[in-house]
């Protein structure tokens, strides 16, 4: 997998040298072998350095990397079985949300996931991963079903936002998201949500009102895509990098603000460099958090879920100018 992001240029150069040497195979001279090992060591070191110090804007490009694992990849690698259930029973089936019961180790969970498309054809099929209202209504149907059968709910979030078309307005995009936000706080089964790539606005939050909200290290979670925020604030999407830096959308910035619960470390150079390792980390985190939440009584779980979101916010008092809220 090539290093193809802007800030990975030094890595790409090293990689070029490495593969040139590797091509020599058996004809490699002893001093060249030493050089190869030196380059490989340097590549690891530099990758580590660069990824440890990513700017928020650079993190955006990793979160949106074309090779980044999507929900379907995690489902394939993490679940022993997954039976996709489709349709909202009212209008149609949305392809940006994929959902159904799945086995993770011994446990049946209800999976509700955003799914982006990899190639042109699939991207179109999945509406670039932006759900229509029927997607949220399918999600609600299956989350209620999960409650009925006492299955925990596991969601994987990866959407830049909800679909912004006129048909979405006609079919009630606002109502669809609003109903999800109304439903999730009171569902009497554990909910674990993980942002695996992009968590954008209400379109993402609609499957993210959970007992635990986890984020992959290089994923982003935001009230609006940086391009949209820049357009709103400064009338120019070219200022997206400023919006990204100001809005603190990366996992490492959101954790100290109390807006997420845990960061899942990514393999060296990003999740796309090692699907298996990333899946193992994700699976471990989901099962561990699920076990912890499942240990609570249902009422205690619901009260904690309520308080978790209740505390989010940072505001002041005009007279005292003192801080309240979560920070």
């Amino acid at each position: 997998m090539a290093y193809d992001l802007e800030f990975e240029k030094p890595l790409a150069e090293l990689e070029k040298k490495i593969s040139a040497l590797q091509r020599k195979g058996d004809r490699l001279k002893p001093d060249e072998l030493v050089q190869l090992q030196e380059h490989e060591r340097e590549l690891r070191q530099k990758t580590e350095d660069i990824y440890k110090h990513l700017t928020t804007w650079q993190t955006v490009s990793v979160a949106r990397h074309k090779d980044r694992p999507y929900s379907a990849d995690y489902i394939r690698l993490m679940c022993d079985d997954f039976f996709e259930l489709r349709g909202d029973r009212s209008f149609g089936d949305d392809h940006a949300i994929m959902a159904g019961p799945a086995k993770i180790d011994q446990q049946t969970v209800m999976l509700v996931c955003h799914q982006k498309g990899r190639d042109m054809k699939e991207r179109q099929f999945r509406n670039l991963g932006m759900p229509h209202p029927e997607g949220y209504r399918k999600a609600q149907r299956l989350m209620k079903q999960a409650e009925k059968f006492k299955m925990p709910i596991v969601t994987l979030m990866d959407a830049s936002g909800a679909s912004p078309g006129l048909v979405d307005e006609e079919r009630g995009q606002a109502e669809a998201i609003a109903s999800s936000l109304y439903l999730m706080p009171r569902l009497r089964v554990p909910i674990i949500s993980t942002i695996i790539g992009e968590g954008g606005s209400g379109g993402a939050l609609a499957i993210g009102v959970a007992d635990r909200v986890l984020m992959l290290e290089n994923s982003i979670y935001m009230v609006a895509a940086p391009e949209a925020a820049a357009t709103i604030m400064w009338r120019d999407s070219a200022h997206a990098s400023y919006a990204a830096e100001n809005m603190r959308i990366s996992a490492r910035e959101l954790l100290p603000l109390g807006l997420i619960d845990e960061i899942l470390p990514e393999p060296l150079g990003g999740a796309h460099r090692n699907y298996k390792q990333m899946t193992a980390t994700l699976k471990e985190a989901i099962l561990r958090n699920l076990a912890e939440v499942s240990a609570l009584s249902t009422d205690e779980m619901l009260e904690r879920r309520y308080q978790k979101f209740r505390k989010m916010g940072a505001f002041g008092n005009l007279e005292a100018q003192t801080l309240a809220g979560s920070i």
Partner: protein, 291 residues
Amino acid sequence: MAKEAAVPLTRQVASHGEEKPARPSVGNIAVKCPKCKEILYNRDVEKNLKVCSRCNYHFRLTAYERIDLLADPGSFTEMDTDIISIDPLQFTAFPPSYSDQRTYTDKLTAEREKTGLKEGVITGHATIETKPLTLAIMDFHFMGGSMGSAVGEKITRAIESAITHQTPMFITTTSGGARMQEGLFSLMQLAKISAALAKLGEAHLPYIVLLTDPTTGGVSASFAMQGDITIAEPGALICFTGPRVIEQFMHIKLPEGTVNSEFALQHGMIDAITHRRDLRQTLGRILRLYA
């Protein structure tokens, strides 16, 4: 989006604190209707509850004007008057080319001075046709009614207060969307308010919501669309995605007023469109039916 209609209003019932500074207008005696462009006398507009007598355009009301319009005289008691926004993200780095380099804190101060409000929502208890209820009335004039932590906290406290006092909850929405300067804090207010409304529902208390111009973005996709009874004023912009973004996304031109109250009613998203002059009476009827 129509630019803020310029109407200097002297409040008729001065029961909620200091007088607001008059906003600029077409002189002090007349105003131009943003919809039909008719020049209207201010005193006629005032008399007509800030509705254009020619085309029925509903000018935006301030939160206190709305309360004066709906609540029984003298019945409103405001709560949480001291909550204000802070700058939790230290949102201070701007594109150098952008002319307005004011920080979020600067902007908040300017908005407070401009509007005489502390934040974009007023909450409290009142009666309508003698029926008690808890209210949260948003005000578009304060940073476009955008959703920040202070707005979210005030609305949540009001809903919790409705549960404590066992009253119906009434919210008037008007919002351009998220408070970008508060980043994810802004988005999480939607989860917080929705969770409180779900609790209100479990307590079997009715939630009545009035959508006014404009109700868009995150507010539309949360408490604006969670009402037991959902009413809109005529001609209000109501949508999740604003018309300009829809146009960009679809590469089409939308006719003026495509996504408005009438569109929402036609597509089954709201229960009724009610003229401003009938609102108080309508709310009274609903409160009696659900009491």
